[in-house]
Amino acid sequence: MLELRHIGFVAADGDANKEILDDVSLTVNEPFVAITGPNGSGKSTLAKIIAGILTPTEGKIFLDGEDITGLSVTERARRGISYAFQQPVRFKGLTVKDLISLAAGKKLTVSEVCGFLSEVGLCARDYIDREVNASLSGGELKRIEIATVLARSKGLTVFDEPEAGIDLWSFQSLISVFEKMHARTKGNILIISHQERILNIADRIVVIAGGRVQKDGTREEVLPGLLAGRMCPALQG
């Protein structure tokens, strides 16, 4: 279980300081929790704070009761936090197989790597020895990024806009990846998304706007309001 207590984040913006997050408290204890909200509301900042990439200026983070606020990215990863980047990173020289093996924390056989690639809809034979570099399309990179967190299969997985750049791959496939992942890990999956189809599988939905939690409840409590009010730009089709 992940617990955020009174998280605040202030970023330097030229000479001034800009408040990105203000007193955000929430828990992630269900299989699927979605965070949604308008662009610029602080959702991705929150995901980075959970992964340890950014340090909150206020508040505390607990994972399974342990205060992890002061822990590094590596230490949090080793305690079971996985994080799928919104913009996947390119590596000259590292192959898809290398990256997925690093994610798994052990040398994988070709058939194990193929298994993860197949789950994200990539024909393994075409990709396994490819470098994770600019020769891959944004959509291909995004699916490989998802395969890296699949290979980790840890307690808490954070996806930052997994639907962005997925191109021809269907949402249904993405959702089945989440479901398989949960079946395997029995952990918690936190998804930052604008997509109604992804919100539809969430057990809980948290709406963030202006750096604050606007709504936090079950899907049944929150989603109808989002759809009726079309809290767009929170929701995009």
Partner: protein, 306 residues
């Protein structure tokens, strides 16, 4: 051959024992073993210079020649000339390389001057590795020169690697290509400490349909210095591509000076160059997989130079 010499041979030529096929092992200036085969003849030079002549007949298909050089003496300096005569239509793998283990305080130095005369339609894969070791204060210096003359529709692939222990190197490669000939070069260099590495490529694309692809990847760490210079001359309907990509770390310095010269309206020449430190987001991605920052750095470098 003692354990140290065996270790050097393993590093530079992946050799656990005397290789199959033709070979010439040079140890501290002396021939330590030589074998010719029906298709590949190795002979002492006809002039007074140190080195060998290697004749590869046109009948050669998929055979290999190993010509490693091992130096274990301190204060030993040599210049060795090896000439390769590859007949039309031959297909051969040549594995060269130099390993120096210098325990003393004085400089040991090997300069290998390799000249390739590649006949029409021949195929050559040329692999060379440079490796140095030794606890003494003496420097390991290697200044290889490679001269390549590619006949019509021939192809030479050169893989050149320097990963460890070479304090100073100036690597000069010159190539002249006739019509339809192809040259592929893959260079990998890692320098650290106070090492210095200079690479100088010069390629003349003389014939129609000639093509060259030169890719250099390097990592400069600590206080090491690297210089990369390259010039491709397109003198006809040809295509040339070069890429130099360097990761810079710590207090290292890297200079890249590429040049393209089109002397024909039909020459197509491209150069790409990039020098930069390891991207922070690359480190972060691997750290989110549970690696420490140092482990992430090692993996990124290993991949980059693999």
């Amino acid at each position: 051959m003692d354990e140290l010499e065996k270790m050097l041979l393993l590093e530079i030529a992946d050799l656990h024992k005397v290789p199959d096929g033709a070979y010439n092992i040079r140890k501290n200036g002396e021939a330590d073993g030589r074998r010719s085969t029906p298709h590949i003849r190795i002979e002492p030079r006809r002039d007074a210079k140190a080195g060998i002549d290697i004749f590869v007949s046109g009948e050669t298909k998929g055979e290999s020649v190993h010509i490693p050089v091992v130096i274990t003496e301190t204060d030993y300096k040599e210049k060795v000339y090896n000439d390769f005569y590859i007949e039309d239509g031959a297909d051969v793998l040549i594995i060269a390389g130099c390993g120096i283990h210098n325990c003393g305080q004085a400089t040991s130095e090997h300069s290998g001057i390799h000249t390739f005369h590649v006949g029409k339609n021949a195929r050559v894969r040329y692999v060379e590795k440079h490796y140095g070791s030794g606890e003494g204060g003496g420097e390991n210096v290697m200044d290889p020169t490679t001269d390549i003359r590619l006949g019509e529709h021939s192809r030479l692939e050169m893989e050149t690697t320097q990963i460890k222990g070479v304090d100073s190197t100036v690597r000069t490669t010159r190539a002249v290509l006739e019509a339809g000939a192809e040259l592929v070069i893959r260079e990998k260099i890692y320098t650290h400490g106070r090492q210095y590495a200079k690479t100088d490529f010069s390629v003349q694309l003389n014939g129609d349909g000639a093509g060259a692809d030169v890719v250099s990847r390097s990592v400069a760490a600590e206080q090491s210095r690297q210089e990369f210079t390259l010039r491709i001359d397109g003198n006809g309907r040809c295509h040339g591509h070069s890429e130099c990509d360097a990761i810079i770390m710590d207090d290292a310095k890297v200079v890249a000076i590429p040049a393209l010269a089109a002397n024909s309206v039909d020459a197509e020449l491209i150069h790409e160059a990039a020098i930069g430190k390891i991207a922070g987001e690359q480190l972060l991605k691997l750290m989110t997989l549970g690696l420490t920052e140092q482990e992430a750095e090692e993996q990124i470098i290993k991949g980059f130079l693999s």
